[in-house]
Amino acid sequence: MPTHTFTLNGERVTVDVEDDVRLLWVIRDMLGVTGPKYGCGINVCKACTCHINGKAFNPCSVPVGAVSESDEITTIEGLADGDELHPMQKAWIEQDVPQCGFCQPGQIMAAVAKVRQCQREGRDVDDEAIEEIRNICRCGTYNRIREAIKAGADEM
C-alpha cells in the first residue's frame, strides 16, 4: 500500500493508504483529527475547509496522492498558537457566532484565508469580499459571521 507523508498541524505524519482516498478521510478517519467536517463531499458546502501552505482548500476534493511531502496542512486544530487563539477565533467567540458549530471550523478557516487574500491583493475586507465565501451555515449565522470576519481582520 502506498505511503504518504506530509505535515499536519506542524507535525510530520505518514499514512498507508491508496492514492485516491480523499484527504478529508485520511485526516478524519485515519489520523483522528475531526475538526474538518463532512457536509457534502463534493467541494460545495465547504465545511471541511482547511489550509494547504496557508491557503484555503477543501480536502474532500483532494486525493491524498496529490499531497506532497513538503505540503503543510492546517486544520482548525492547528490555527491557534498553543493556548493563544487566532484573532479570527477570538472574534468568533466575541461575536457569539456559533450555533450548532458544525460548519464553524470551516467558516473560520475560510475567513482567515479570505482576509489574507484581501491583504495580498490590497482589497478591503468588506461585504463584497465576504460574499465570495461559499461556506454554508444551515443555522443561518451569516450576519454574525460578517461582523466577526471584519473584527478578526482588524486584528490580523
Binding site: 483532494v62 457569539d96 461559499r134
Partner: protein
C-alpha cells in the same frame, strides 16, 4: 448579595421542611435525594402564564382561539409534569454543579441557557455549572422530547426548584458549620460568606448538605428583581470548543472498531434492495470490511468513509419500487387539491377575497447529516447519536433488534443542527440494524445525497383563504390548509403516545391537534376559522422548523395586505387596527418605527410587513427587498441569486428572556431560513424521487443572499415565565418577505419558493450510483 430566601424573623420554620419563605411567596416542592453528596430533584407546579387577550375596539372581535388559552407549549409541559421530579442537580466536591438535561441541543443554545438558570438560582458563575445531555431515560415518559420550541418553557421552573433547594441546603449546612444565623450569610460565585468574612465553598459543603434519606422540601424561588444572570446577554459556553474544533459530534466520536459505514440507497424514494449482483467483488475492494443487504439498502463498512462511498458507487443492485414510484410534484399537488376542505362561511355580504397558495417540498437537512454509532451485541446494544426523542428511539431500536428496551443504551450527542429532522432517529435505527447484521460496531453516516433525497422533508401543502370585507371591516376570514401528512409518530417523546400516533387515523388527529394548538389568526377578522387536512402519501416528513406556521403565515399575511388594499389602508396601519391586543401592536410598532416603515423606496424595491404569534410570544418583521433586474440577475457560480432582501427589522417579545444574545441568534437563524423558504430553496419531486442531491442543487441562504442589514429587537416583558424562541424567527419574516416581493413586483406569487418553476440552474446528479464521486481537482480552487 443578601440572601433572598429568608423569612421575616417572626415566621417560624415549619416542621419537616426547610421553608423560610416570605409570606405570600409561592412555594414549590423539591426533593432531597439520599446520596453522599448533595443531590436534589424537583417536580412541576402549575403556573399562570400570560394574561388573556384583550378585546380591541372597532374591529369585530373573533372568538378566542385555542392557542390563546392553551397552546402546544402548555401541552408539552403538561405532558411533562408527572415525571419531572426526576430532574436532578448534583453539587460536586470540586464546587461545580452537574445537571444532565433531558433534552437535545442542536445549536439552539439550551445548554448555555440551562447553565444560566441554575447559576442564577444557586448564585454561581455560569461556568461553574456543568450541563450535559442525558441518555435516554424511559422512566421520564413524556419528558424527554425536544420540539415545539418548548425546552425553556417546560424546564425553567423544575430546574429552578431543584437549584433553589440545593442553594437552601448549602446555606443551612454553612450556617451550621459556621455556627452563624443563616440569614447573615451571603452566597456568590459558589462561595458562602459569613460574618467576619469566613468563607466556605459549595464543594466544602456538599457532603454536609447531603441528605441520608429521600425527603420532600418546600422552597421558594429567587424573585425576578434579584436576577443578575437571567436576562443578561451571555455568549454560548461551548464557543471555545467549537472554534478550536474540539466540539464532538456523533461521527467525531472514537468508539472502538466502529468503522465508517455508508448505505447504498435506491433511486426511488424509499426503494428497497432486491438483490446485489456483485457483492463479493465489492467486499474485495480496498479498505472494505463488510457489505450486507439491510432493509433500507446495501450497507458498506470500510476503513474510511471515502472507501465506503467507493464501495457504494461500485455496487450493482436490483431495486424494488419506492413509496411514491412514478409520482411528481404535479401528481401530488393534484391529490392535495382533491383533498382540500370546503369553506364553511356562506357569502355574508361585502366583497370576497379568494386566494390559494402552493408550498412545495422543502428539505430539513442539517449540515450534520443523519449519523449514528451502534454497537449491537447478542444481549445488548449501545447507540450514540443526536436524538430529540431518545426514549421513543430506544423503544423502536429495541423492537427492531428483538431486545428488551432496557438492554438498549441510547447516548444523546450534541447535534449539528436539527430543524425538526432529529425528532426522528432514522440513522440510529439503521445503524443498529447494520451493526446487528454485520455483528460489528458501525459508525453510520448518511451522505449528503442520501440526506437530501431520502431524508425527511417539510411536506407540500396548499393554503387557501377566503375573506369577506366591507368598506371598513373584515367580516370573515377562513383558512384551509391541506398538506401531505406531517409525521408526528415520534409522539411526545415516549413509546405510548408514539404508538397512539401510529394507530389508524392517529397521526391525523395528532397533526390536527398540533395545528389547532399552534395556529392563531391574530387579527379581529370576524368569523375566523382555520382547518387542516392532511393526506398520507408515503413521504418521509417531519416537523420542520416552525412546522405549519411559515406557510400559514405567508398566506395569511399576503391576504391581509390584499384586505388592506380593499379598505384603502396602509398595510401597517391596517394590521395595527385589526391586531387583537396591545401586546401584539407593540412588536408591530417597534418594527415600523425602527425599520422606518413607509420611507420612500426606489422602483423595483419595496418594504413588506408581517406579524405572527406563537410560543407564548408575539413577533413582527419589516423587510426591504430589491427586485430590480440588476440585482435579480447578478451571477454567482453554482448559486442562486434572485431578489435580495436588503434589510430586516425584527421584533420579538416572548415573556421572560433567559439569554437575549441567544434569542437574537435564534431570530437571525429563523430570518435566514425564511428567506430560503420564500425565495430560493425547494425540493422537486420527479418520477418518484427528489432531484436535489446537495447544496449546489438545494439553494439554502448563502452569504450572497443574507440581508446586509439586520436589526433584531428583543422587547422586554414583565412576565415571570419564558416562551419559546427556537423557531420564532420564521413565520413573520416569511409573511413580510412575501408581501414585500408582491409590493415590489406588483405580482402576488401563487407558489413558494418563487423560483420553484424556474429551469434548474444545475445538471441533476445521477441516481445510480446514488452518491456523486468526490472531485479530485480541489487544489485548483485554493485561495
Amino acid at each position: 448579595m443578601a440572601n433572598h430566601r429568608f423569612a421575616p424573623p417572626t415566621k417560624a420554620k415549619e416542621p419537616g421542611t426547610g421553608l423560610r419563605a416570605p409570606v405570600g411567596r409561592r412555594k414549590f416542592l423539591g426533593y432531597l435525594v439520599a446520596a453522599p453528596t448533595l443531590v436534589v430533584a424537583a417536580e412541576f407546579t402549575r403556573q399562570t402564564v400570560f394574561d388573556g387577550p384583550s378585546a380591541s375596539a372597532a374591529p369585530i372581535p373573533s372568538v378566542p382561539q385555542t392557542p390563546e388559552a392553551y397552546d402546544l407549549l402548555d401541552l408539552l409541559r403538561d405532558a411533562a409534569r408527572p415525571t419531572a421530579n426526576l430532574i436532578r442537580i448534583e453539587v460536586n466536591r470540586d464546587g461545580t454543579v452537574s445537571f444532565a438535561l433531558p433534552r437535545s441541543d442542536n445549536g439552539q443554545g439550551i445548554i448555555t441557557s440551562t447553565q444560566m438558570i441554575i447559576a442564577e438560582e444557586m448564585n454561581l458563575e455560569v461556568e461553574q455549572v456543568k450541563v450535559t445531555l442525558a441518555d435516554a431515560r424511559p422512566e421520564l415518559l413524556f419528558n424527554q422530547i425536544t420540539g415545539g420550541s418548548s425546552t425553556t418553557f417546560t424546564t425553567y421552573t423544575p430546574i429552578r426548584v431543584a437549584a433553589a433547594l440545593a442553594q437552601m441546603r448549602l446555606l443551612d449546612a454553612a450556617a451550621q458549620l459556621l455556627q452563624q444565623d443563616v440569614r447573615t450569610l451571603t452566597a456568590r460565585s459558589g462561595l458562602i460568606t459569613g460574618a467576619a468574612g469566613r468563607v466556605l465553598s459549595y464543594g466544602d459543603l456538599t457532603e454536609a448538605a447531603a441528605s441520608r434519606v429521600d425527603e420532600q422540601v418546600e422552597v421558594v424561588l429567587k424573585p425576578r428583581e434579584d436576577f443578575r444572570i437571567i436576562g443578561k446577554p451571555h455568549n454560548k459556553t461551548d464557543a471555545r470548543d467549537i472554534v478550536t474544533g474540539r466540539k464532538c459530534f456523533a461521527t467525531d466520536l472514537q468508539i472502538p472498531d466502529a468503522l465508517p459505514t455508508v448505505i447504498c440507497r435506491a433511486p426511488d424514494l424509499n426503494g428497497t434492495p432486491d438483490s446485489v449482483e456483485n457483492i463479493d467483488e465489492v467486499r474485495d475492494m480496498p479498505g472494505i470490511t463488510d457489505v450486507e443487504i439491510v432493509s433500507t439498502g446495501v450497507a458498506v463498512r470500510a476503513r474510511t468513509f471515502g472507501q465506503a462511498i467507493d464501495g457504494v458507487r461500485a455496487l450493482r443492485v436490483n431495486w424494488n419500487d419506492g413509496t411514491v414510484h412514478g409520482e411528481s410534484d404535479e401528481t401530488i399537488l393534484a391529490k392535495l387539491r382533491a383533498a382540500e376542505l370546503p369553506m364553511a362561511v356562506p357569502p355574508v355580504g361585502g366583497e370576497t377575497v379568494d386566494a390559494s397558495f402552493t408550498f412545495y417540498f422543502k428539505s430539513s437537512s442539517a449540515l450534520e447529516t443523519n449519523s449514528a454509532i451502534a454497537d449491537v451485541r447478542s444481549d445488548r446494544a449501545e447507540i450514540w447519536g443526536a436524538m430529540k426523542n431518545p426514549v421513543t428511539a430506544q423503544a423502536a431500536i429495541a423492537k427492531k433488534l428483538g431486545l428488551p428496551q432496557n438492554a438498549v443504551t441510547v447516548h444523546v450527542t450534541e447535534g449539528g443542527g436539527s430543524f425538526g429532522r432529529k425528532l426522528f432517529w432514522d440513522a440510529a435505527l439503521e445503524a443498529a440494524e447494520v451493526s446487528q447484521t454485520m455483528g460489528k460496531p458501525v459508525k453510520l453516516m448518511w451522505t449528503r445525497a442520501d440526506d437530501s433525497r431520502q431524508g425527511r422533508v417539510h411536506p407540500m401543502a396548499t393554503s387557501r383563504i377566503r375573506a369577506s370585507v366591507t368598506k371598513d371591516s373584515v367580516l370573515s376570514f377562513e383558512q384551509r390548509h391541506t398538506s401531505v401528512s406531517t409525521d408526528f409518530t415520534h409522539g411526545l417523546g415516549d413509546a405510548i403516545t408514539a404508538t397512539g400516533a401510529r394507530a389508524p387515523l392517529g397521526n391525523l388527529t395528532f397533526a390536527e391537534s398540533i395545528f389547532e394548538l399552534t395556529q392563531v389568526t391574530p387579527y379581529d377578522f370576524g368569523v375566523s376559522t382555520r382547518l387542516l387536512n392532511e393526506v398520507e402519501m408515503g413521504f418521509n416528513t417531519s416537523s420542520m422548523r416552525n412546522v405549519y406556521s411559515p406557510d400559514v403565515a405567508t398566506a395569511r399575511e399576503l391576504v391581509t395586505d390584499q384586505l388592506a388594499a380593499k379598505v384603502g389602508q396602509d398595510p401597517y396601519e391596517f394590521r395595527r387596527q385589526f391586531l387583537r391586543n396591545d401586546r401584539m401592536r407593540a412588536v408591530l410598532d417597534a418594527v415600523a418605527k425602527e425599520g422606518r416603515w413607509g420611507r420612500s423606496m426606489k422602483k423595483g424595491t419595496a418594504q413588506g410587513i408581517g406579524f405572527h404569534t406563537e410560543y407564548k410570544g408575539v413577533s413582527a418583521a419589516l423587510v426591504e427587498i430589491d427586485c430590480r433586474p440588476e440585482t435579480v440577475n447578478r451571477r454567482i457560480r453554482e448559486g442562486v441569486t434572485g431578489p435580495r432582501v436588503t434589510k430586516v427589522t425584527f421584533a420579538v417579545e416572548i415573556g421572560l428572556v433567559i439569554n437575549p444574545r441567544g434569542v437574537e441568534a435564534q431570530m437571525m437563524g429563523g430570518i435566514n431560513d425564511a428567506l430560503a423558504l420564500i425565495l430560493s430553496s425547494s425540493l422537486h419531486l420527479t418520477d418518484g424521487h427528489f432531484v436535489e442531491a446537495s447544496w449546489d442543487n438545494y439553494f439554502y441562504t448563502r452569504q450572497w443572499n443574507t440581508p446586509p442589514e439586520i436589526n433584531i429587537i428583543v422587547l422586554d416583558a414583565p412576565g415571570d415565565e419564558p416562551g419559546g424562541a427556537g423557531e420564532f424567527g420564521l413565520a413573520a419574516t416569511c409573511g413580510a418577505v412575501a408581501c414585500a416581493y408582491a409590493r415590489a413586483t406588483g405580482k402576488v406569487p401563487e407558489y413558494f419558493p418563487i423560483n420553484h418553476k424556474d429551469p434548474f440552474p444545475f445538471e441533476p446528479k445521477p441516481l445510480v450510483p446514488p452518491i456523486p464521486e468526490s472531485p479530485t481537482d480541489g487544489l485548483r480552487y485554493t485561495y
